[in-house]
Structures are given as C-alpha cells and as structure tokens.
C-alpha cells in the first residue's frame, strides 16, 4: 500500500512538478502571471496524440492522425507548446499583473472551447482514446515504475536546465527585467524580448509533460484539461513557496501526496467512499490554510538552499 502511494505520488507529483517549476520560472523569476498553464499542457498532449494516432476510421471525427512513433510525438509536443507560447505570448506580454493573468486565462478557455467544439482536431468531447505509448516491458521494466521514472527524469531535467539558466548571466538579466525593468532597459537590454523568451522556454517542458500525461492516461479529451489543472499548479506553487525550484517541487509533491493519502484507505462500503470523497476536499482546504499560515515547506526549502 505504501509502495503504491509513493509510486503514484512520485509519478503524478513529478509530472505536475514540471508545470510548477515552469510556472515558477515565469512568475517568480520572470514576473509574469500565467493563468493559462493548462493550455500549454493540453497543446503538448494533443500534439502527441495527433502525431502518434492512427488515421481516422469508422466513427472517428478527427481529421488527422499521423501514426508516427512515440518519440516524434514527444518532440512535437514540445514544439506545439512552444509555438502556442509564441502565439499567445507575443501579443499579450506587454500586459502586466492581473491584466496578463486575465488574458492568459481567457486564452486557455478559448483553446479549451476550440478543442471541445472543433471535432476535426481531436474528436471534440469524445477525445482521442487508446493513445500510443512506448511499452517498457520490451526492456523488461515494470510499467508503472518506468513511467514514474520517466516523470522523475523529465522533472529533474527541467529543474536542472532552469537552474543552470538562472545561475548564468542570462538569469541575472531575467532578474533585472523582473526587479527593475527601466534600469535594465537603460543599459540597453531588450526586456520585452527577454520576457517572451522566458515565456516560451518555460512552455516547452509543459508540452513534454503533456505528452507524458497522454501516455499515462492513454486518453486526451477536453475534460482532462480544465482550469482545475491551472489552479492545482498555482496552489502547489503557493504551498511550496515561490522563487526556489525545490520549493515548487516539494509543494507539488505534498499536494499530490495529500490527495493520495486521503484516498489510500480501502473502503468496503459505498457510504464510506462517498464520505471520503467529500472529506478529501475539506482536508485539502484545511491543509492549505495551515501551510499558508506556517509555510513549513517554504522554510524547509530555504534551509536547504542556505
């Protein structure tokens, strides 16, 4: 039971950590409030599914299925998220604060609505099922373990790249853009370009995470990519504390762990399972209040970095 709890927490925790770490880069270091995180996640998942899915047949309503190998789909997921970030970032990044938050949120909702209503993209509300995924059994690996490892590798890689990026002179430029834009511009730095670069760079791993999510669920459908994902990632970031990569990861892991721990108890009656489903949200809410009040993860993360 503990094994399963840890494995699920690691698998989903690591995957969502990629989103939190990317959001951390955008928000805490780049100063951009992105309330449309789920759109880049969905762009990656859909790109992966479209590239790897077989051509439509029978009652399928999607127009395109390229039937390509999984790794091409994985690369396509990163590119799709990047392209989507350029398209949404270029016109919106002049906005600041809550205006940017509202615009990105609107973009994500529009994207969700397009996926839901334009059935030629991904079968509309039906979604694309039985998504292609690499089979770790070929290498003699346990499936759950292999995908947990894949999620951890993606998370560690993202964290490492962002860590290197922020520790480099470019990282100081990002900080300068965030802390004092006018000062940065006065020494000849193009802050608008830096903001767009950060926005686009941080979207790429989100796209990869989307592809991984599609492999794990073997289903992409609009119902999986709602604003709840965005809120989940924001709550995780708030829990873990801003500005540190480790904090972002710990916050996400803790949040997934809470969810899993509450559901861990095996229920033998319908009533107890129903009560647990209701209690889970209450407990998550209470824990959120406690963590925001005392910020233990934030403190821990700070201690770890000093």
């Amino acid at each position: 039971m503990i094994y399963s709890l840890i494995l699920t927490t690691l698998m989903f925790g690591a995957m969502f950590s990629v989103l939190t770490v990317s959001l951390n880069l955008q928000y805490a270091r780049g100063g951009m409030i992105n309330f449309g995180t789920v759109a880049y996640f969905a762009a990656g998942a859909y790109a992966y599914a479209i590239v790897t899915q077989e051509p439509p047949s029978g009652l399928d309503q999607y127009a395109l299925g390229l039937n390509a190998p999984w790794w091409i789909g994985f690369i396509a997921a990163g590119i799709a998220a990047m392209v989507f970030a350029v398209i949404t970032g270029w016109p919106t990044l002049r906005l600041r604060g809550e205006y940017l938050a509202l615009t990105t949120f609107a973009f994500a909702e529009v994207f969700h609505s397009i996926l839901l209503n334009e059935r030629r993209i991904g079968n509309g509300s039906v979604g694309m099922a039985n998504v292609e995924r690499p089979d770790p059994a070929v290498l003699g690996l346990d499936d759950t373990l292999a995908y947990t490892a894949a999620a951890c590798v993606l998370m560690l890689l993202t964290a490492w790249v962002f860590h290197r990026l922020l520790a480099s002179p470019y990282g100081r430029l990002v900080d300068a853009t965030h802390n004092d834009e006018i000062a940065a511009e006065s020494v000849g730095k193009n802050t608008a370009r830096v903001r767009l670069q950060i926005f686009v760079i941080s979207a790429i791993p989100i796209g990869f995470a989307g592809a991984l999510y599609a492999m794990i669920t073997t289903l992409v459908a609009p119902a999986l990519f709602t604003a709840e994902v965005t809120f989940f990632v924001w709550i995780a970031l708030a829990l873990g504390g801003e500005r540190t990569i480790l904090g972002a990861i710990l916050g996400t892991m803790a949040l997934v762990f809470f969810q899993e721990a509450v559901r861990m108890i095996p229920f033998e009656t319908v009533r107890s399972a129903q009560i647990a489903a209701s209690v889970e949200e209450v407990i998550t809410g209470i824990l959120f209040i406690i963590v925001l009040r005392w910020q233990p993860w934030d403190r821990l993360a700070r201690k770890a970095t000093t």
Partner: protein, 402 residues
C-alpha cells in the same frame, strides 16, 4: 552543491523503489468497485456499487468462490479518467483486486491499456461508448450493449410513435452524441421532419439560446440526450418557453430524482425515457427485483441488474478458472456466457462447475453472450412519466433490431 545533492537523493529514492515489491495477504478475493460517486454520474455510481454488493452477498451466502469469500473495495472516480487510472492502479497494486467493476464510458476507455497490462479484467454495466466496440474484448467487458443500440431503440420508438416532426437536443459528449447520430438516421430514413439537430455544451446556467430555434419550429417531440444537470434545466426552460409537445429522454435522465427537481407536470404523461434494460418478464429479472426489494425496500434502479450480473459473471468465471488471478478469470469470462448448461444463480453455476459441466450464465439483465468486443446484445425499455415515476411503456428485445 545543495541542488546536486537533492537531485541525487531523488534519483536514489526512485531506484530504491524499483527493488521494493508490494505484498498483500491472500485471504479470499477482492473485486474493485470503481464508480463515479460524485459528479454528474454520482447517482448511477451508488446504484452500481449497491447492486454489486448485493451480488457479492449472494455469492458469499452460497459459500463464496473456490478462491474464498468475495469482498469489495470501493473507490470514487469523480467522473475523471485520470482519477480512475490512479484508483485502478492502487486497487490492483495495493489491494490485489482480481477484477475492476463499474467504470463509466470515459474512464473505461482510459483503463483499456491498464487492464491488459496488469492482466486485470475491467467490466462496466453502463459504458455504452462506441470506442469500446473497437478496442474492447480481451480484459475489457461490459454487461450493457453499445450506445449504437440505444440510438437504434430511440429511432425505432420515434418512428413507431408516429410523430411528424422531431427536434434533437444533444449534449456535447460521446455517450450522447453517438446514439443521437444513430437515432437521427432512423428518423430521417422514416421520412420524419427533423426540425433541428443542436449539440450543446453542458455546464451552462441557461440553454435558452439553444431552445429559441427548437421552440420556434414547434416540433411534435424533442429528443433530449442530456446529462442530469443540463437535462433538467433544458426541460424547465422549454416548459417556461411554452413547449407543449412530448419528450424522449435518454438514460441519464431515467433516475427518480428527476421528479424531485422538476415540476412533475412538465413530465407527466408526455415524457418518455429510453434505457437499456432487462426484460422484466424474465424469471431471472423477477428474482433479482424481488431480492432488491427484500434487501433495500426499493425497486432496482437503472443498470442495477447489469451491475449485479457483473459481480455474478466475475465470480462464476473465477469458479471455473484454474487460478485465483485476473488472468485466469479473463480466460474463462467469455466461456461462461455461452454454450453450456443455462444457469441463473451463482449457487447453480457453482454446482454445475463442480460437476464438470460447462455453464452459460443468463443473468438478471438477460442473456449475456459476449461478442468479440466483450459486449452483449441489448434489450431496451421505453418508460413513460406517470404520476411522478417512470413506468414501463414499450419493451424492445434484442431481436427487434435484427
């Protein structure tokens, strides 16, 4: 340095987990009941879980399976595919379930790969999704017919009722769109005027925009394929908009709660609901119905018979299997639904199997012979709203669609 240390620790933890293996006690067998207890299908989830429990009680009363008494582990999917995968993994890895019963359409589709990988059969009593027509079969079964059958039944009823014009209002979901497409074809083929075919998105506070066109054409009947939340709102707003024709509703609205949330005058004597249902004249169904009445004091809810049959089929397959595993259960599951001595209770099946006889389980929901996609042929009932309850109107046996 600290960053590197942390990351090394994370890698070490992942590696350590690879060498740890789970263990659970092997005392009896457990069926996982993975149902939506919250969300749009919450009402159905409870009916399914209760009916499975009823079946399990019967199995244990007959002495349990050869693998010991059957217990259940219940979990809520909340209607989410991601949640279903998380819970299914946990059920298999931690609780060692040999079969997972009860997921709805979207969840079932997402679980196909997991079922095959973990060699654990999954069975649904209401996942009519046409996607399973293609990818179902091995390890993936259902005790309900495909949505295409629902559409054919609705189409047949609309045609036979003699309406001159019909409007279609369809929720933007797979479980509603696919049967609606089939019903639409039947209606058009019969020369009935199709005044509107509107696909709407659920979750809106009002559906007046969709209803404007429908009501302006004043059709004889409206075919409404909607969820419980959207369906009730559409019915209320159409009544407020002066619609006086009849309704044909789909299975999601076949629950008694509809009469609690709506003024019964909107439905009484002019609303019908089409649902996959057992032939209530069958002795197996009558026995099940009586059992439900005795245990719960209520008549069986929608899909209760199909849910009860899931538990029975799993237990009988396990009884006939060579081992107490999901893989062995899967190997026998199709076999116990066809070509053998007809049995309708677990006790009879157990006895026959012990005597070395091949069995063919005919359950409360009717004959369950599973086709290549793990789906039985369906029988359908059209019920009429009468005095605040759904009352049987017309029954279509599977042979009506041949």
């Amino acid at each position: 340095m600290t960053f590197r240390k942390t990351m090394t620790a994370a890698v070490a933890l992942s590696t350590a987990l690879a060498t740890t293996q789970p263990a659970w006690a092997a005392d009896g067998v457990t069926f996982g009941v993975l149902v939506p207890l919250t969300g749009e299908l919450g009402e159905f989830g409870k009916i399914v879980a209760d009916a499975v429990q009823l079946g399990v009680d019967e199995i244990n009363a007959a002495g349990g399976t050869k693998c010991g008494p059957v217990s259940i582990a219940v979990a809520d999917t909340g209607g989410s595919a991601e949640q279903a995968i998380r819970e299914a993994n946990k059920m298999i890895d931690s609780e060692g379930v040999v079969a997972i019963l009860g997921p709805a359409s979207g969840e079932m589709v997402a679980l196909v790969d997991l079922a095959k990988r973990k060699k654990t059969p999954m069975m649904s009593p209401y996942a009519g999704t046409i996607t399973l027509n293609e990818i179902g079969g091995d390890y993936v079964y259902r005790t309900v017919s495909s949505d295409l059958g629902d559409g054919a039944a609705s189409g047949l009823w609309l045609t036979e009722k003699g309406y001159k014009s019909v409007a279609f209002l369809v929720q933007n979901e797979e479980s509603t769109i696919s049967p609606a497409q089939v019903a639409k074809e039947a209606v058009e083929a019969a020369g009935i005027e199709l005044t509107d075919f509107i696909v709407y998105n659920p979750g809106q506070p009002s559906y007046q925009a969709e209803l404007i066109s429908v009501l302006s054409h004043n059709p004889d009947a409206i075919y409404l394929a909607g969820g419980q939340e959207s369906g009730v709102t559409v019915l209320k707003e159409a009544a407020a908009g002066g619609f006086e024709g009849e309704w044909l509703l789909t299975a999601d609205l076949a629950v008694p709660e509809v009469f609690e949330t709506l003024d019964p005058r909107i439905l009484n004597d002019r609303a019908y609901v089409e649902i996959a249902e057992a032939d209530s004249s069958l002795p197996e169904f009558k026995a099940f119905s009586q059992l439900t009445m005795d245990k719960t004091g209520k008549a069986p809810g929608p899909f209760a018979a199909n849910s009860y049959d899931m538990a029975m089929l799993s237990a009988i397959a396990l009884e006939a299997a060579d081992a107490c595993t999901g893989e062995a259960l899967n190997a026998k599951l199709r076999g116990v639904t066809e070509g053998g001595e007809k049995v309708s209770t677990f006790a009879a099946a157990k006895e026959a199997i012990a005597a070395g006889t091949d069995v063919d389980y005919e359950g409360a929901s009717g004959p369950l012979t599973l086709d290549e996609s793990g789906t039985p042929a369906g029988a359908y009932m059209v019920k009429k709203a009468t005095d605040g309850a759904w009352v049987d109107e017309t029954f279509y046996p599977a042979s009506a669609f041949e």
